[in-house]
């Protein structure tokens, strides 16, 4: 799709109205086009103003009281909160991520031993040694992602990566989360994963190319078993 075609899609993209293939094309083009980035920022600003362009309605007068009653059993059950909720630091990502990484590395050591045996048999090589100095790439929720957050840990050798997500809604059995790795407008499958009822998920990513060759990552909801390409809006993503 050429620049003019992408430019024509930007107003709809800013409102979330583009189809998945159109969204992919816009996302591949915009990072390298200052004019389209500026246009997108303008239309996103318009979208922000539209948030307030609804009729002003009075909520039922007892709605706050009903919320108070609904909170009452929640308040009793709320304590004790998990330790990571009580942490009063601006960003939980490095602390939680480091803890998860430590826990996962122990298990991954044994996984890697099995992998090495398998890969020796197939002639491939893999190593987890680089995770000690991995780069942590925070993922941001898109509008459709709501409350979700995540981190990609990318070691310097780029052969493996680790995806940690939290706050992701659990999916029905016929759906799965799929990670995508973006390069030159094309998406490689990064793997499928599910999350626990608490919204936590982990994925060891084995990209087809070195991770440094990709420009972005994204997560979408797909049918169980995955899809050849994204079929729903991105819920989490980041530039690499």
């Amino acid at each position: 799709m050429d620049h003019e075609a992408i430019e024509g899609l930007i107003p709809a993209y800013a409102l979330g109205a583009t189809d998945p293939d159109e969204s992919q094309a816009v996302e591949a083009h915009v990072p390298g086009c200052a004019a389209c980035r500026a246009l997108l920022a303008e239309y996103r600003g318009l979208g922000d103003h539209l948030l307030y362009a609804t009729p002003v309605m009075a909520a039922p007068a007892d709605l706050t009281e009903r919320m108070r009653r609904r909170l009452a059993p929640e308040r009793r059950q709320a304590a004790p909160e998990p330790w990571w909720v009580r942490l009063r630091i601006r960003s939980l990502v490095p602390v939680l991520g480091a803890t998860l990484l430590l826990l996962v590395l122990t298990n991954l050591y044994w996984v890697s031993r099995v992998n090495r045996l398998q890969q020796r048999a197939t002639g491939q090589a893999a190593s987890l040694d680089g995770f000690a100095n991995a780069r942590a790439i925070p993922l941001r929720a898109d509008a459709a992602g709501g409350w979700a957050q995540g981190v990609v840990y990318a070691p310097s050798d780029g052969q493996l990566a680790l995806l940690c997500v939290y706050g992701m809604p659990a999916l029905p059995p016929d759906k799965t989360y799929q990670l995508w790795l973006l390069k030159d407008g094309k998406r490689d499958n990064g793997g499928l994963f599910r999350v626990s009822q608490d919204g936590f998920g982990l994925l060891v990513v084995r990209p087809e190319r070195a991770l440094s060759e990709y420009s972005a990552v994204g997560i979408t909801v797909e049918p169980a078993g995955g899809s050849p390409g994204p079929t729903s809006p991105r819920v989490l993503g980041a530039s690499l």
Binding site: P11, D48, L50, L51, P55, V56, M57, R70, R88
Partner: protein, 191 residues
């Protein structure tokens, strides 16, 4: 908002720390705003109430996720509400409606007093944009409203309206370009 009242970030911090009073203060401050968006999408009083309460329960459970660096809290809250309402619309198997109370309708409250305790400037800009939306040709306004408040993509718009995909894309693009032009040219819109 009274100058002695804590701001949104403080209330959010207290909510995250387990203060239900802080959450209820946010509820009192923003319930009408959230309900207005939920109602606009769902156009059903019962569903709008449920989505409103669900949004604040999510705030109670996950309020720490809001990052002030990403923009005004009310905008973030309304954006979350819009998507929650669109999700609920889909769960209910209902089709989004483009019709809403026209600006200045006699069914609509004319005074913000008592309905909004904060963000009057944002609200007024939004209402002005709503008036400009009314200046679009009807077929363009329809697709803009269905795309934004109904969460429909190009293909979904074409299916719902039984129109060719190209027609829908053209109307949406022209409608948004015209709306942007009206907004940029209007001296009353503050940027």
């Amino acid at each position: 908002m009274d100058g002695d009242e804590p701001d949104d970030v403080v209330l959010l911090q207290r909510t995250a720390a387990g203060s239900s009073d802080a959450l209820l203060a946010l509820h009192k401050r923003y319930a009408n705003l959230v309900y207005s968006m939920a109602w606009r999408v769902l156009q059903d009083v019962g569903l709008a109430e449920e989505v409103t309460q669900d949004v604040f329960m999510k705030l109670w459970q996950h309020g720490r996720r809001y990052d002030p660096a990403r923009g005004r809290f009310s905008s973030w809250l309304l954006s979350v509400t819009r998507f929650a309402a669109i999700d609920r619309l889909r769960q209910e198997g209902r089709r989004p409606l483009s019709a809403e109370l026209p600006a200045g309708s006699s069914d609509e409250p004319t005074s913000l007093e008592g309905l909004l305790s904060t963000d009057h400037a944002s609200w007024e800009r939004g209402q002005h944009l709503r008036l400009l939306l009314g200046q679009l040709p009807a077929e363009q306004r329809q697709v803009v409203e269905l795309a934004y408040f109904g969460g429909l993509t190009h293909s979904e718009l074409a299916e719902q309206l039984s129109l060719p995909l190209g027609t829908v894309k053209g109307r949406l693009r022209l409608g948004l370009e015209k709306l942007r032009g009206l907004w940029l040219d209007d001296p009353a819109s503050e940027r």
